[in-house]
């Protein structure tokens, strides 16, 4: 009975599908984890403002946020472990292998996880005990931000690697890394988009948390019956909104460079995002577009809010020069996207921004200058941008589905890499032809400096040194059935970032195909000594 299920199902199945399970858990975790990271930053700013002005309104607000932080930290932690368990069961090969490459970074991340929990606990629960040592208390809270940043950077190393493996030479099977440290892969961790993803998400987290804090303040303003509480929430909301809007305005700068790197190191992902293919378009909707329409709306609202705050000299106004300059950068960003995608996208985005601005003005007027409604709306929209950003990044990776849409063995998830979705314009050629072509360094086979460089002298050497960045050799020799299929497989690997010149690609395909034919000709040994 135990193995009856195993006999019928080659993989563990999850209701709704494994992709849904992982996606849901990952997004649940991200929405909570990102909030926690941003909260730490917002709390420190609030405490500093409160200390400088000797105004307990900000310190009390910081304490309230830190209480939420304590509550959601555990939810984020538990989600993370649920994600780990789900990945272990639903994507065992992937999870086991990536763990080998990132083991030590994940252990450091775990240590940081614990340090953060303890720091957070001390910071909140000793709040009232440390009024005689306020600077120490603020410093304790401020420690959270660099700790979170480092932890976050580490997990982004792995996340970015999944999209842009880059020049990784994770020598898992044979050489245990060139310094003999199994569980650490320098080039996998410091992959092409690691830095961009970290910076982009860091700013996004600060923005997201700031907007959520402002949204909760907005909600409390609606509920407040007393003038003091009303004023407290309005001021706290405005300060949080300011933090959020400054972070938000920095996003397109990093985002642009992120997309730039993706263009060369994650070509298929870039194409999926810009042209809208694969899972980026799900249910007929391009979710990448939706995210940017929401962002455009937020720019319009943010711009008008800052304008009104500056005009009426409200507390915590943002310098309008900076706002206008960065809004202009945003505009150029959208122009660029329009040029890549369609101009329709640009005009609709512009309309969304104008609509957002007009809505903001109306809401401010309706509430006699109070930002409550704007805070609420921006908080909600910000949540969706975080979710959609993460979703789009994951969904832009090439998907492994049958081209005809048929299910294999009755299941819609394929564990091995036999098939990949290819859009019509790229039929027959997996590698995307860029208008300006790839930069030179992509084609050049680069050895690792000051390291033992394996000089491939034979085809076996070549395969052993290049084909184990992301998987073991066992997969590299799995029978495909024809030379054309091998050509497609190796081409796909090249698209993923494996470094092969066209000549080397030919050698690899020829050798593997010959080897497969030889092995097919040898009868199986009945004694089992294979």
């Amino acid at each position: 009975m135990i193995f009856l299920a195993a006999a019928q199902n080659p993989f563990l199945q999850f209701p709704g599908g494994a992709k849904f399970a992982i996606g849901f858990l990952a997004l649940f975790h991200t929405s909570v984890g990102s909030l926690a990271i941003g909260f730490a930053f917002v709390v420190t700013i609030l405490q500093l403002v409160g200390y400088v002005r000797r105004d307990n309104q900000f310190d009390r607000m910081a304490k309230r946020i830190q209480l939420w932080h304590v509550c959601i930290y555990n939810i984020g932690t538990i989600n993370a472990i649920g994600l780990v368990f789900a990945l272990s069961g639903l994507y065992p090969q992937f999870w086991s292998q990536i763990f080998v490459q990132f083991f030590w970074t994940l252990i450091i991340e775990e240590a940081l996880f614990f340090m953060l929990a303890l720091t957070l606990t001390f910071h909140y629960f000793f709040w009232d005990d440390l009024w005689g040592h306020k600077k120490l208390h603020i410093f304790l809270g401020a420690l959270l931000t660099p700790m979170f940043f480092l932890q976050f950077a580490i997990i982004n190393g792995m996340s970015a690697y999944m999209l842009t493996p880059g020049f990784s030479e994770g020598q898992v099977s044979q050489w245990s890394g060139t310094a003999g440290i199994l569980g650490w892969d320098k080039l996998a961790f410091y992959n092409p988009t690691f830095l961009m993803l970290t910076l982009h998400r860091a700013a996004a987290n600060f923005a997201y948390a700031g907007f959520i804090v402002a949204a909760v303040c907005g909600f409390e303003i609606y509920r407040a019956k007393h003038e003091k509480v009303l004023s407290w929430n309005e001021r706290g909301g405005r300060l949080s909104f300011k933090i959020a809007i400054i972070s938000f305005l920095s996003l397109p700068i990093v985002g642009f460079f992120y997309a730039w790197v993706l263009k060369y190191h994650g070509k298929e992902a870039y194409e999926n995002l810009m042209i809208g293919r694969g899972d980026v378009v799900a249910g007929g909707i391009d979710w990448w577009w939706v995210k940017h329409l929401i962002v455009a709306t937020m720019i319009g609202m943010g711009l008008m809010f800052c304008y009104r705050a500056a005009k009426y000299r409200r507390e915590f106004r943002v310098p309008m020069t900076a706002v206008y300059a960065l809004s202009f950068v945003y505009l150029m960003f959208y122009v660029g996207m329009g040029a890549q995608m369609t101009w329709k996208f640009f005009w609709v985005s512009l309309a969304a921004a104008v609509f957002g601005g007009m809505l903001c003005i109306h809401l401010l007027n309706f509430h006699e200058g109070s930002g409550r409604a704007v805070f609420l709306l921006m908080g909600i929209l910000s949540f969706f941008t975080v979710i959609l950003g993460g979703y789009a990044r994951e969904a832009s990776r090439p998907r492994f589905v049958s081209p005809s849409g048929e299910r294999l063995k009755g299941f819609n998830r394929i564990a091995d890499y036999d098939n990949i979705y290819r859009s019509e314009e790229r039929a027959g050629n997996v590698s995307m032809a860029m208008l300006r072509g790839d930069p030179d360094y992509i084609e050049e086979v680069r050895g690792r400096p000051q390291q033992l460089t394996i000089q491939p002298e034979t085809p076996e050497d070549l395969i052993s040194s290049r084909c184990i960045s992301c998987h073991t050799l066992q997969r590299a020799f799995r029978p495909q059935g024809s030379e054309e299929k091998w050509d497609r497989v190796v081409g796909r690997m090249h698209a993923y970032g494996t470094r092969l010149t066209p000549q080397e690609k030919k050698i690899v395909v020829q050798h593997i195909w010959e080897k497969e034919q030889v092995e097919k000709a040898i009868p199986a040994d009945p004694g089992g000594m294979q």
């Binding site: 135990i2 193995f3 299920a5 195993a6 199902n9 080659p10 993989f11 563990l12 209480l67 304590v70 509550c71 930290y73 555990n74 939810i75 932690t77 538990i78 989600n79 993370a80 472990i81 649920g82 780990v84 368990f85 789900a86 272990s88 069961g89 065992p92 999870w95 086991s96 292998q97 763990f99 080998v100 083991f103 994940l106 252990i107 775990e110 240590a111 996880f113 614990f114 953060l116 929990a117 303890l118 957070l120 606990t121 629960f125 898992v172 099977s173 245990s176 199994l182 569980g183 073991t472 050799l473 066992q474």
Partner: protein, 465 residues
């Protein structure tokens, strides 16, 4: 499986594994015990109209809240470490228990939700809606206990798989009722439930005694001083009384292990883990003597003293039916009985006498609390060590097994188990020549050994006994 096994610096893998696990388990067990007891205390305070019980309940939950985040963070470290350092074990075990692991994740979420948002944060706001508040506490405790049930089931499987094989790496079983309801699961669960109550409350009593001393120094007549004095007595007494369930449950637990994990049982009863068990028994004696004396002095109650007497007599029965103690010779039975009866008399003599609120007693209670804590720590340690070099008993061996461990396992399995009751008999009844003894046993067909096995066993016995 073609995945490499990652080596760790400084210490071998199993040491790091132990340390990471030990960082999490005391916190988790404390939190679970507090969550189970707090609603009960709150209810008592509500029904009897005694605010001290409410204050005690709130302080338990407040402490659980402080511990929760670091404890959860440490808990995530355990699977992360295992996945990298024991990849094959993890893959196979997570295959077998996939759905229970997902379920415990959902229970955990529910536990956090009830504990944080509906129990802790609403304490003052729902001051006059006690029934609702207590219900939320019960819900939080319920889900917390469900988490413990899942992990105890998975942990018990590692010692008594009960005939359910560990599936292959690519055999996605998902879930198995037989594996979850493995032979030692109910015993481990009940043993750890009462064990958690016992050690958590004794340790809390010990900590409260220090707070009592501090408050008494500041203001001997304040309500705080009276409260901490009461809390010390109450917590310690509850923890002490909960202990008496343990020997009974433990005896049945050991019987199940004897049947379903005989090699592990031999390791514990006279084998390589015996010393730890002996230390554990000594620690139990420490808190029994200190704690028993304190409890009868503090609570001048015939009923309580009678209950302790009954508990000690049951403990005596368990001791008398404890075969490995035959190693000491026949005299230990009357001596044990004498010691226990003398102790019972001592307790009756001390009932209500003397001043248990003296400073010396507060330190003594703290020491007793620590002894209870280390007793608990040793329990898990023994359970894990007794099945070395297996990770899952009889199913998968740990990658860093040594020759000594492998040889010892062979000796337990093929020499001691068929012929002796306990490994201590090897030294007590040592023959002149192990080689001759082994060869004779093979001839008599009392053991079935290959030549290699026989040679290994002879070498091990000659080297170690």
């Amino acid at each position: 499986m073609d995945l490499p096994v990652i080596e760790t610096p400084v210490f071998p893998r199993w040491v790091w594994m132990e340390e990471i696990t030990y960082s999490h388990i005391p916190i988790a067990t404390l939190v679970t015990a507090f969550m189970l007891l707090a609603p009960l205390f709150e209810y008592i305070g509500y029904r009897w109209g005694k605010p001290r019980w409410d204050r005690l309940s709130k302080s338990l939950i407040w402490f659980a809240m402080i511990l929760f985040s670091p404890g959860a963070a440490l808990g995530t470290g355990i699977p992360m470490f295992i996945i990298g350092t024991y990849p094959e074990f993890w893959s196979r075990w997570a295959n077998l228990f996939f759905w229970p692991l997902i379920a415990q994740f959902m229970f955990f979420l529910a536990e956090v939700f009830f504990l944080f948002f509906l129990y802790y944060l609403t304490w003052d706001r729902w001051m006059h809606r006690k029934k609702l508040h207590i219900t939320m506490g019960v819900c939080a405790a319920f889900f917390g206990y469900l988490v413990q049930i899942v992990w105890d089931s998975l942990g018990a499987y590692m010692l008594t798989p009960g005939g359910v094989p560990l599936p292959g790496v690519d055999e996605p079983v998902g879930w198995s009722l037989a594996a979850m309801l493995n032979p030692s699961f109910p015993f481990l669960l009940i043993h750890r439930t009462f064990g958690n109550f016992s050690y958590a409350m004794m340790l809390t009593g010990g900590v409260m005694s220090l707070r009592f001393m501090g408050q008494r120094r500041k203001d001997p007549l304040s309500e705080n001083t009276a409260y901490f004095k009461w809390a010390t007595k109450t917590c310690f007494t509850i923890g002490f009384m909960c202990f008496f369930a343990m020997p009974v449950i433990g005896w049945f637990y050991a019987r199940v292990l004897q049947e379903h994990a005989p090699i592990g049982f031999l390791a514990m009863m006279g084998g390589h883990v015996t010393d730890y068990l002996t230390i554990k028994m000594m620690l139990i004696s420490v808190f029994l003597v200190i704690g028993g004396t304190y409890v009868v002095k503090q609570n001048n109650s015939k009923a309580l003293t009678a209950a302790i007497t009954l508990g000690l007599l049951i403990l005596l029965v368990v001791i008398l039916r404890h075969p490995p103690l035959d190693y000491f010779g026949g005299w230990w039975r009357p001596v044990s009985a004498g010691i226990v009866i003398l102790f019972i008399a001592w307790l009756w003599l001390n009932k209500g006498r003397g001043d248990p609120n003296r400073t010396a007693w507060q330190y003594a209670i703290f020491i007793a609390g620590l002894a209870a804590f280390f007793t608990f720590c040793l329990g898990g340690f023994i359970r894990e060590r007794m099945k070395t070099p297996d990770t899952v008993y009889g199913e998968i061996v740990k990658p860093e097994w040594t020759d000594v461990e492998a040889d010892r396992y062979l000796v337990y399995e093929k020499w001691i188990h068929p012929l002796y009751k306990t490994p201590t008999e090897l030294d007590r009844n040592r023959p002149d020549s192990w080689r001759v003894a082994v060869q004779q046993a093979r001839q008599d067909e009392t053991v079935t050994l290959t030549d290699t096995e026989a040679e290994t066993i002879i070498n091990y016995l000659e080297a170690n006994h």
